[in-house]
């Protein structure tokens, strides 16, 4: 796997040798994009923050992955954390930052002690005068969103904020702040050191009704048939859910998987997580479990998302109780569309994707419950 290649501080050494500007040039040329979903060029983000006049800048590593079905950052934390720290140090060097944070999701707290030791080791070896602090998340998914993570580190409720200002301009304590996730930062030294580094490899988290769930690395555009051959469905597969945000779709073996297929290009979050759903399940059950995720995780700041996600759960429960007619299904669709249109952040804006897509492709599963 490309993501497991170690760089042993060679990337940092190279960065300091060639200088800040050159690092940005190389990362741009190598086409390193953010792996949080938007694929925004890392160099551009860093350049913006570097361009803001400030006496302090901060770097945050987002280790708060939490979209259901996603566990690839945990895989990196466990298997190549040193390289990720190196990426963080390179970011700190380029941005002249003295203080870095790793926002570790509370559900991964059991990894913390080991991570802290490794941070100490790498810092010592690097001889960089920066601090790296682990911020202990506490089970709020929304803190993966960049404005919310900043609020959370500053000791506030982790609610999303209106943008602008963008964190790169005014983030932690009003200073320019760069946020990259675990996968992105791990790629930084790898892209600098290895000539043959390929920007199109992505980590996939595969789970559900398959015999070989786990983290895999494939090139963008990989065929669905290739994926299925490797992960081996344990029964006939009826559908797949792209994490939570990407919707529930039928599986087409000939299709290829890219950012566009997962999120139709308009989703902020899309990690490459595929949950395969076997034939014996009713899609409405899966929808209900996803809908509950949104009610747990809505930060409550805007009404459509806070109240609407609860209404979606209630409607789905009502459908399952068979006390509905077709009008309720129409209502479900309208509700989902309406919440998405009127919510502030990516969470609310995608909270109906699973419902809208499943209504489109698996209406039969809903109709089973209609009087």
């Amino acid at each position: 796997m490309q993501i497991l290649r170690e760089t042993k501080l060679e990337g940092l050494r190279l960065a300091r040798k060639v200088g800040r500007q050159k690092v940005l040039e190389i990362l741009l040329k190598k086409k390193l994009g953010g792996r949080g979903g938007a694929n925004f060029p890392v160099a551009k983000k860093w350049e913006t923050a570097l361009g803001v006049k400030a006496d302090e800048r901060y770097v945050i590593c987002n280790a708060d992955e939490g979209e259901p079905g996603t566990f690839k950052d945990k895989f990196i934390l466990k298997n190549n954390f040193e390289t990720m720290i190196e990426g963080l140090l390179i970011a700190a060097y380029v941005l002249r930052a003295k203080r870095c944070f790793i926002y570790l999701r509370g559900e991964y707290d059991y990894l913390r002690e080991e991570l802290e030791e490794k941070i100490k080791e790498v810092l010592e070896k690097s001889k960089m005068k920066v601090s790296i602090e682990i911020v202990r998340g506490a089970g709020a998914y929304i803190c993966g969103e960049e404005t919310a993570i900043i609020q959370s580190i500053m000791g506030n409720r982790g609610s999303s904020m209106y943008k602008p200002p963008h964190p790169t301009i005014s983030g932690l304590w009003g200073k320019p702040t760069v946020l990259n996730n675990v996968e992105t930062l791990t790629c930084v030294p790898q892209a600098l050191v290895y000539e043959d580094w390929n920007p199109d490899y992505r980590l996939f988290s595969i789970s559900g009704d398959v015999n070989h769930p786990g983290v895999y690395e494939w090139e963008l555009g990989v065929k669905m048939s290739t994926i299925l051959d490797v992960v081996k469905p344990r029964e006939k597969i009826k559908a797949m859910s792209f994490g939570c945000f990407g919707g529930i779709m039928p599986v087409k073996k000939s299709s290829s998987v890219s950012q566009e297929t997962i999120c139709k290009g308009n989703c902020q979050h899309g990690a490459f997580s595929i949950i395969f759903i076997g034939e014996r399940h009713n899609i409405v059950d899966i929808c209900l479990s996803i809908a509950k995720f949104y009610t747990y995780e809505s930060c409550g700041k805007c009404t459509p998302c806070r109240e609407g996600t609860i209404r979606l759960v209630n409607l789905l429960k009502k459908i399952k109780s068979k006390k509905v007619n077709e009008g309720d299904i129409k209502l479900l669709k309208e509700f989902a569309e309406h919440i998405q249109e009127t919510s502030l952040c990516g969470l609310g804006q995608s909270c109906g994707n699973h419902i809208l897509t499943s209504l489109k492709y698996f209406k039969k599963d809903y109709m089973r419950y209609i009087k």
Binding site: G66, G69, G106, W173, G214, S241, S289
Partner: protein, 141 residues
Amino acid sequence: MKDKLLLNILHEVQDKEGYLSEKSLKKISVEYNIPMSKLYSVATFYTMLRTKKQGKYVIELCGSPSCVLNKSREIEKFLERELKIEIGETSKDDLFSVYKTSCIGCCDEAPAMLVNGEPYTKLTVKRVKEILEELRKNANS
């Protein structure tokens, strides 16, 4: 509060005392000059911070899709039956508090749960029964 991070402070207290009592929050409030209202507003925002007394073992069972596909509902029903509580409650002997949580990143070993932050995966009713017994034993020793 730039030097000490509030989230880490709250976690440290909870690690030691099991939850964030009013008394402890008052101490933090005085020491760091943060109003109580603000502390409660933050502490109650995060599901893993708790302002009420908890059982000795806090169980968080994943209710997200990969676990549901792997029969987490059976585990849920078993826990409720075995501990004679509903999700969100604490057992009479004060040993177990049980919650449902969103994905804990163990989807490839589903169904999964955290007990006091430690992951337990590939759960079956039989395995959960053993885990509970083990925990009960540890609690008494």
